[in-house]
């Protein structure tokens, strides 16, 4: 199955890595690794072995690529945002040329389905009939519930009670798709607690269950595997840039919670030193307050949910609550490869407040007729800071990671509160 000839034929598939990270122990520099109870160690090894086997398996590839095309709707367009570009143009007409990678047009409305679909196909091949997942904004939960429906797998989604309230539409969608949504009241009732509870379920049911982790976080091999399953975003972008202007993009911009959409876009270009990589975190009510989720900007290295990475923690090494208007960014950790990209200086990370993100959501809606997710709106908001700093007319690709239908209630409530 892994003969050299077969391997040679798949080198152009989306799953081929462009770098050798992580190492054998799942390390990106000093970040990553496997910090989990012993019970899970054999399952992580099993998963890694299965992943290494199937990533190069032509049948797996054919099934995945076929469904990415016909079920998800890939490739997603690279759209030139003409009026947004004009908004940031200087009087002489120069300024960044802004393109949106339209992951919001995927089935289920966000990039999350790329990974959920691939992991479901993997789980099926591993003979696991029961699927669990955590969700914050509900996008990963919906994507997981969707693929479980598609493959006839049992599905349990762990979701914080606070997130269930602010993303009630997605809760309904998951139930409609046949998933059980398990409320998590522990801690702050958000993504961190839902992830812990999903891991506890996995510890308990590991022999029959596959955990579809939804970000480039968690213990090895998840950060690598989830990145690779989203790397299709970057490989398509490279191809589309070639078609549109015959070259590389100059700047890539994406929001970062755990960091899956950003890694999916960045991975293809990490080795291209001319391409600037920028991640945008959630500053919540401001990084000078206690209410933010700017892990890379304000955190320190630590261990959460199985990986060493930057982490929001108190002086005792206790994990602290994150805050963001966007449930998908409301997480005190971040994927270990982002910590590595930051420490090596390969990528830069900035943060944007709730207020700026909401303003950006309104702006994109009015200028382009695209209502972006609140998560995505953080990347859009950073254009306000970035664009005036840029010389000439660089080509900028922003990952439009999700659509904002799920957020309209939250935004309406926020705007009403601000008026009051």
């Amino acid at each position: 199955m892994n003969d050299p000839e077969t391997l040679a034929t798949v080198t152009t598939t989306p799953l081929s890595p462009t770098s050798t990270q992580p190492d054998q122990l799942g390390r990106f520099g000093r970040f990553g690794g496997k910090y989990v109870p012993e019970t899970l160690m054999p399952a992580l090894t099993e998963l890694e072995t299965a992943y290494q086997q199937y990533r190069h398996d032509p049948e797996f590839q054919a099934e995945l690529n076929g469904l990415l095309k016909d079920y998800v709707g890939r490739p997603s367009p690279l759209y030139f945002a003409e009026r947004l570009t004009a908004h940031y143009a200087r009087p002489d007409g120069s300024g960044p040329q802004i393109y949106l990678k339209r992951e919001d047009l995927n089935h289920t409305g966000a990039h999350k389905i790329n990974n959920a679909l691939a992991q479901a196909i993997l789980a099926k091949r591993m003979g696991k009939q029961r699927i669990i997942a955590e969700t914050g904004a509900g996008q990963h939960g919906v994507a997981t519930a969707t693929v479980c429906a598609r493959f006839g797998l049992d599905c349990v989604i762990y979701m914080g009670v606070q997130d269930m309230e602010r993303q009630s539409l997605n809760v309904f969608r998951m139930r409609l798709l046949g998933a059980t949504v398990q409320p998590v009241a522990a801690g702050t009732g958000t993504l961190k607690d839902a992830t812990s509870e999903a891991i506890r379920d996995w510890v308990t049911n590991v022999e029959t269950t596959h955990y579809i982790l939804g970000s480039v976080a968690g213990p090895h091999p998840y950060p690598m595997m989830v990145r690779d399953f989203h790397a299709v975003i970057g490989t398509e972008t490279r191809q589309q840039c070639l078609e549109k202007w015959g070259g590389l993009p100059d700047i890539l911009l994406a929001c970062v919670g755990g960091g899956s959409n950003a890694m999916g876009l960045f991975h293809e270009f990490v080795g291209e030193s001319s391409v600037r990589l920028i991640g945008v975190e959630a500053a919540g009510e401001g990084t000078e307050t206690a209410h933010h989720a700017a892990t890379l900007t304000k955190g320190q290295p630590g261990v959460l949910h199985g990986a060493m990475s930057y982490l929001l923690q108190d002086p005792e090494g206790q994990v602290v609550e994150a805050h963001s208007i966007s449930a998908g960014l409301d997480y005190p950790g971040v994927g270990p490869e982002h910590s590595y990209l930051m420490e090596t200086g390969r990528a830069d990370y900035y943060s944007v407040t709730d207020a700026d993100a909401v303003a950006a959501l309104e702006r994109l809606s009015r200028l382009e007729g695209i209502i972006p997710a609140l998560e995505t709106s953080h990347a859009i908001a950073y254009l306000d800071t970035l664009c005036p700093q840029l010389e000439g007319s660089p080509r900028l690709v922003l990952n439009c990671s999700g659509r904002g239908d799920k957020d309209v209630q939250t935004v309406a409530k926020y705007l009403k509160m601000r008026e009051a």
Partner: protein, 264 residues
Amino acid sequence: MTSVSERFQTLKENNQCALIPFITAGDPDLETTAQALRVLDAAGADLIELGVPYSDPLADGPTIQAAATRALQRGVTLQKVLDMVRSLHAELTAPIILFTYYNPIYFRGVDVFMAQIAEAGVKGLVIPDLPLEESTAVLESATAHGIEVILLVAPTSPTERIDAIAQKSQGFIYLVSVTGVTGARTEIASRVQDLLPQLQKSTQKPVGVGFGVSQPEHAKQLKDWGANAVIVGSAVVKRLAEGTPAEGLAAIDTFCRSLKAALA
């Protein structure tokens, strides 16, 4: 003061199975924890596992999670826990084993942490989210400070892993009896009956069984299957947390004695 290994040596000479109760430090408060350590010591505990409350206790079920959350809400910190241990460990016969997740150790600095807990009188250490692969630096530092790090083996661990873990573990080997998190179960998984001799074939070190052990009948069962120690956590934590501190202390006194009697 007696090390974990020394304690097991004595128990072995007397052909005894050790009783290791677990409590969460600071639930309901550190004064009660100090009293509970005295009570358990007097009621026959051979070693005592003391849990440091953590914000994200991945390996723990609802009982110990809730105890940790209550303790943190009352402002319990590692420093306060260690101050309490320092003040009373000399009164105790049972060596104290600290149970803590890895992040607070890493955050403090592994060497600093080991020096501090050794100075406070802690003898052993269990880190539930630090598997063998990540443990090298921790084991080295612990050894330098005279702390024994007890590694865990799970029902899912393959034979090669069991051998490697058994070789590195210090003091004893902690056999997790269930595929799951901590918390009382109604019966002991029958798999343990096969795992115990398998483990004891690969190591001379004592084997302690924990997770899910909640009744004197369980303790006796495990002793009969050849366990060198039984670890009882959630069932103790739950009893200590019910009613007033005085009622909780009385309840764990009775419970600890009943476990001890079952092991006699």
